[in-house]
């Protein structure tokens, strides 16, 4: 009997220091099927694909192609086996034409001279056959994101790949482009290609896939046939029920409006669509408002807009009754806005500065730390840093003079939290404040956020972690494709319901 599977990954285990990224995961991709791989951020999808691509070597488990065991030591091995991937962020040369990009790396040549005609014919034949419309002579920088993606798909087909991996392919597309992509994927599978579709958007998975494999926190949850399941079931499998982790906190006592966001729109840096579309909400004193959503749905840009890192295209921001729509970052900060940034290395710290210098990053210009002649008051900075280190239990090799780069991620984050909270902010914008931290540090930071709320501060929390959203927030706004698609009360909602909103399967008008 012929083996029905194109690729099998059996009992794959991949460990990183301190974490098991893939724990005994099995994924079997049938020939000619569209197989979805579903899971939250950090569920182990990327690691699994990296193992398949030879970027990582699994400690345990085997990979089989057409029933034969294979060794994939590097991406070239994967290519030789006919495995191709469309990455979430395209790997195209912007100033090259579509054709040049497609043949890049496998240029047909005779004695070192390019033979483009041959390649052109093959590309045109392929695009005809699969309904992938592209102009081979257009420059990448001139064409739409959808067309760039089709170029990536053609790249795989040009290399005669049989197994096609799509890594979150719809994240950057417009709804129309998504429909087209779905059709293309169906065409490809009808022509015998096997497709692995990585996503956490339930609607798309339901529409296009034949089977779904679900991962959660590095573990294999199960594989189901799409026709025999429902969005609710998938959502439950993805999120899991037994993970609620409750932070002890009292009832919120919301006070006055601290931040008023009115219809703001922020441009995206990645694609030509707006990342944040006409979003409105209010944050009150004494509450934790959480923006939930899957990564890449505009949360980052929303925060950039509120904190002033990016200009607004439209809308109005009011902080404590004052218009800050066009206010520079420094003014917002002085007015009482603190910001725990998403990326602590990019924004949060000057890594080559000492810990004490990082501790005063938001306050170094105040008379407490700088004298009238413009000289820094080193002893005061030292004293202040020591106070914060002590108070917030920031551990480091050499205390205040430790170079920030040499500190552990958790302690770097604690330093940022200390710096931002000690400003005694009226509004704290905290973006993924516990990303990549261990359980102890997470608990500590959660307590600090609640304490900030109880002290009458307004907290705007942006998080991708459902547990965090459910346990910390007093109100939840769900963001999907740049819009607020729902407002939920964490006490009455379920993780399943939240998951449906996050995946865009459900929406209702946000209560204003």
């Amino acid at each position: 009997m012929e083996n029905p599977y194109a690729i099998e990954m059996l009992h794959i285990t991949k460990k990183f220091p301190g974490i098991i990224a893939n724990d005994d995961i099995t994924l079997q991709l049938k020939k000619g099927e569209i197989h979805a791989l579903l899971g939250e951020n950090g569920a182990g999808k990327s690691t699994l694909m990296s193992v398949l691509f030879g970027l990582y070597q699994a400690e345990e488990g085997v990979i089989k192609k057409d029933g034969r065991e294979v060794q994939i030591k590097n991406p070239n091995d994967a290519n030789d086996l006919g495995i191709g991937m469309v990455h979430q962020h395209f790997k195209l040369v912007e100033c090259f034409t579509v054709l040049d990009n497609i043949i890049l790396g496998v240029e047909p040549n005779k004695h070192g001279f390019l033979q483009k005609q041959e390649a052109r014919e093959k590309v045109l034949a392929l695009s005809e056959r699969y309904g992938l419309h592209v102009d081979p002579d257009a420059l990448i920088e001139d064409i739409t994101v959808g067309m760039q993606q089709r170029t990536e798909i053609l790249k795989m087909l040009y290399r005669d790949n049989e197994i096609l991996i799509f890594d979150e392919p719809t994240a950057v597309l417009t709804p129309q482009e998504i429909d087209e992509l779905m059709q293309i994927m169906k065409n490809l599978s009808a022509e015998g290609k096997s497709i692995l579709f990585i996503s956490h958007k339930l609607n798309e998975i339901m529409e296009v896939s034949d089977r779904v494999t679900v991962l959660r926190k590095g573990k294999y949850i199960g594989t189901v046939e799409t026709a025999k399941t429902s969005k609710e079931e998938l959502s439950r499998m993805m999120v899991g029920r037994d993970v609620e982790f409750v932070v002890a906190k009292d009832e919120a006592k919301p006070g006055d409006v601290v931040l008023d966001v009115e219809g703001i729109t922020v441009a995206s840096k990645v694609h030509s669509n707006n990342a944040v579309k006409d979003v409105s909400f209010q944050v009150h004193a004494g509450e934790i408002l959480c923006i939930a959503g899957i990564d890449g749905n505009g949360q980052t840009e929303l925060v950039y807009g509120i904190t002033g890192l990016e200009p607004l295209k439209a809308g109005k921001l009011t902080l404590c009754g004052q218009d800050i729509t066009k206010a520079p970052i420094r003014r917002r900060s002085v007015m009482g806005m603190s910001h725990i940034p998403e990326d602590r290395h990019k924004h949060g710290l000057v890594l080559d500065y000492s810990l004490e210098y990082n501790m005063v990053l938001q306050r170094y210009f105040e008379p407490e730390f700088t004298n009238k002649a413009g000289f820094l008051k080193r002893p005061q900075i030292r004293k202040y840093a020591e106070k914060l280190i002590d108070q917030y239990d920031v551990r480091s090799g050499q205390g205040p003079i430790t170079v920030a780069r040499s500190m552990s991620g958790g302690n770097q984050q604690k330093a940022i939290v200390a710096r931002e909270l000690d400003k005694d902010p009226k509004l704290l914008v905290a973006v993924q404040p516990t990303r990549g931290l261990d359980v102890g540090a997470i608990e500590y930071i959660h307590k600090q956020l609640v304490a900030q709320r109880d002290a009458g501060g307004a907290v705007l929390l942006v998080s991708l972690e459902l547990d965090e959203v459910m346990s910390l927030s007093d109100r939840i706004l769900v963001m999907y494709e740049g819009e607020i698609v729902g407002e939920l009360d964490p006490k009455t909602t379920t993780v399943e319901e939240l998951g449906l909103y996050m995946a865009g399967a459900k929406r209702k008008e946000a209560a204003q």
Binding site: S333, K346, H347, L349, D352, G374, L376
Partner: protein, 377 residues
Amino acid sequence: MKKILKNQAVQSLLASLLCVLAGLLIGYIVLLFINPAGAWEAIVTVVKNFFYYPSKAAVVKYFGNTLVKTAPLLMCGLSVLFAYKVGLFNIGAAGQYVVGVAASLYLALALHMPWYVCLIAAMLAGALLGAISGLLKSYCNVNEVISCIMLNWISLYGTNLLLNNVKETASPYTFNLVNVNASALIPSMGLSKLFAGNRYVTIAIPIAVIVAILVWVILEKTKFGYELRATGNNKNAAKYCGMNEKRNIILTMMISGALAGLGAALLYLTGFEQWQCSQSSVPGMGFNGIAAAFLGGLNPIGTIFSSYFIQHITNGGAYVDKSMYCAQISDLISSIIIYLCGFVAFFKYFMNSAIDRREAKKAEKLARAETEEGGQK
């Protein structure tokens, strides 16, 4: 020992010394290829510089000459260093130096201004040129390297054009300051007496050293320096905490330009050199400043020493036996050494990875020994 080797300052110093040695070695090898007979003697001559003279008075006098040319090199080094700390590569120090020459000499020779006015004018001219690159960088996102290189040439020919008005009729050189406007000469305040009456030794030299210390103080001790270095280390973090990046970039380029411009005035207002109005290449001073800054470990105080060293071998090159080697040999040798000076970062990296490798090996051995021990138990 390992701790000492891991220390940043020690590392910089060691790497700089390694660069110097490597430069001398390669220079020596080149000399061997051209004419093996005199190679050793020639390289010794380069290193000896003014010690070449038998009389003590001559040694002191020519030591003075080396110092006179160290001052402008130090300023160019500081100019490059200052910009580099803020994440900008000021290759335009050469052009800013040239407009410094233009401003100081024109004011001195055509308008008969006193020396301090000429100094300030040179700084302003340099700052202005730097500001152009800074503005282009912060508002139009034009790479400062490109705009600086363009401006280098513009300033060279502009300077030739301007100084043509104050040039000797018979030669391409500008008037001699002593004859035309002695008040524009930087005063010596008795320093020349220390150098066997070398009248080019002026307070320009202590001024340069003071400026170096000042740069260090600004960068390390002030709020302004804190902001600048934060911007240089992590532009995004600087923006995040509300520093005005654009303003900082422009200010940095202005200060850098002012430093290079001042350097030019500190040389030309001693009367040591005259500008050659038919010059068709940008003087190397600004470019050598890059080497001085890097060889000095990007530290203003270190740059004092590195610029002296570079000037020392450049001057020393002039004494190489011209019957054995062609006249360009001195430039060749000094430029090889200067070129190697740019490799400080490389040597540092090399040293670090060697240390790390050794440590990793040791750790591995230790781990292996431990597991074996455990197995035996």
